[in-house]
Amino acid sequence: MTIDIFWRIPTHGEPSSHRSKTPHRGDWFPGNDRLRERGLVGSGEDGFNYIDYLSEIARAAEISGFQGGLIPSFPMTDEPWIISAALARETETFRFMIPFQPGFLNPVTAARMTASLQRATGGRALYNVITGGGGPAQLWWGDSTGHDDRYGRTTEFLDILQGVWKGGPFSYQGKFYQVENAGLADPLSREEYPEIYFSGSSDAALASASKHADYYLSWLEPFEQLRQKFDRVKEKTHLLGRKIKCAVRVDIVARPTEEEAWDEVRLGFEGLSKEAIESFGRGDGGDSAGAARQWGNRPATINSYKDLIFEPNVWSGFNLLRGGQTNGIVGSYEQVAERLDQLVQLGADAFILASTPHLEEAYRVGEEVLPLVRGTSSAPALRAVG
């Protein structure tokens, strides 16, 4: 079994480098989602718009050897189902990893959408099942279901998805969902069931993941903490008579030398305001256990980017530069590959990588880093030419 490596599609725009929030790509205003601003490929007036940029990234990722990409969904982003359907014919091997919250879709609708997307792409759709961070963001979506109930709902959702997939007839009486004599129609019912990546760090999440997920997906945490988490998940799943694999979603900054890589981080950090650094790690009112595990490491004072280095080649301040998780891998191509291999040793079977800008970095990481990753092979990895 070999390691799967995915890229990421930036559904919220992005800057053209880690060093500064401008110039940017897409029509989001850097740092303020209430405003609109034209960046590269953002005007729409010339007939081109942000989907054209995303198409380029998907193509770059597949040409460079990635499996496909995660297509994040949040209140301020574009949406993955539409992106995937629109790019189906503009990609050949790119696998569309669609995050969605089961509470938002009727499970039979989701089954039909997935099967049709499989038909549209030749089987290239897969899921990242997410269950939301709670709090005001959840109510923004119109979802008032509490944390543990949301995971119960996720389990029911996946029970039904699986039940109807091969055509049924399938009936189910759950707390959140009911179906009677349901089943996908032929030929939708012939499609391959999507692989499921599952996110969530709480006990309720692990219970749900153990039943249905193919991959348990985590952000990067301190390595030893992550190893324990993966061991726990695999053990819990084993008790249910299933096998689960583990995956890590992590940003990387890889350059020909370690110094150049840290320069990107340093320059980005030096461009931040005092307020931004002060509010860093203070929480957002949600109930996400994963977020809490990230911000537990915040030091009392942060004067330099170096204050956020807790492990070799890992920086814990990425949230300051672009939102999302705080930890990321920074180093030379060889060092980044070594860290990825280290994660494989402690239990990772797949990765979802990303960097900024996602277009050029897909080529860079695909061409320079991936060939150096041994994964599950004991043979020395290829050395890049030149």
């Binding site: 301020m76 574009d78 949406e79 359907a85």
Partner: protein
Amino acid sequence: MALEFIWQLPTSGDSRYGNADKHRRGERASADHPYSPGVTDPRGTSFNYLDHLHEIAKATELAGFEGIRIPEDAQGDEPWILAGYIARGARHLKILTEFEASWGSAVYAAKNAVSFQRFTGGRLAWQIKTGGDTQQRRTQGDFVQEQDIHLRIEEFVTVARGVLTQSPYSFKGRFFEVLNGGFQGPLGGQVVPPVYLSGVTEADLALSANVADVHVFDAVPVATLKQQIANLKSNADEAKRKVSIGLRLDLIARETENEAFRDATRYRNQTRQTGSVDALEEHLWGGLTTHVTGANVTLIGSYQQVSAALIAYAEAGVSSFLLSATPHFEEAYRIGEHVLPLVREHFQPQQQRAA
């Protein structure tokens, strides 16, 4: 009043000329060789019905239609996915996507609509179906009571429009809720998908009066339609709203009337429709092609006769024509080349249709 001609993507299959069997053209779900062993077939399982549907979308655009409709059919591929799938191949068509309000969260639907509008320059429209009977709806995971269907659609549209146009927006209803929601920045200010609804019951008309942009009637003789339109208008006036009129209609249009009736009769025979024709009028048959196209009524005649009938409907108040014919690919060209120009010429003489 601007007319719009909307063709259709046959989501669960189509017929061919002189062959009424419904099947998915180009579908290669298995490697079964459709040719005799003596002839090479290079396809393997390379293609499926979606490739053909994509061709229909492009044909619809090239043939000059204003839009294409993607019907919701439990046996067929899912309309939202097909909408995204054809969006970049057909760069100017309005894409009228049908679904039921049991689809999921209204906010989530609106959010997907936002991305669709951003990527297509605002071409998404919604047709919301009341759905089948209780048994059918339960197979789709929908256990909402019959008497609540209209209210749910009304709430769905209200919430979707709310988050699309206001921020912050809050709503608490029986079926949907949202607290301080609403889209902003680049997600804000997107074109709200026009809402198409249908039906003839009082509840259907009352719902459309309250929330529809277009109410779609099945084709009936013009005199009857005028009464239905008047009924809808009085509902809409009470609600202080304007609702445009749509007409759903299948076509069998040929160079001559004889050819048209020959093909209609052959279709009837091949689909084993016995007994007398359900003729609403001489050229208007009920139930002929419903199992393939979903249309309840088919208009049969020469290009002249068919276009004259469409003109009469337009003069009675119809501005949206939701049309179809089998086979959908070839008929898009035929209708676009031979019928639509006659209708457009009548209303805009000597003028080129705006590109």
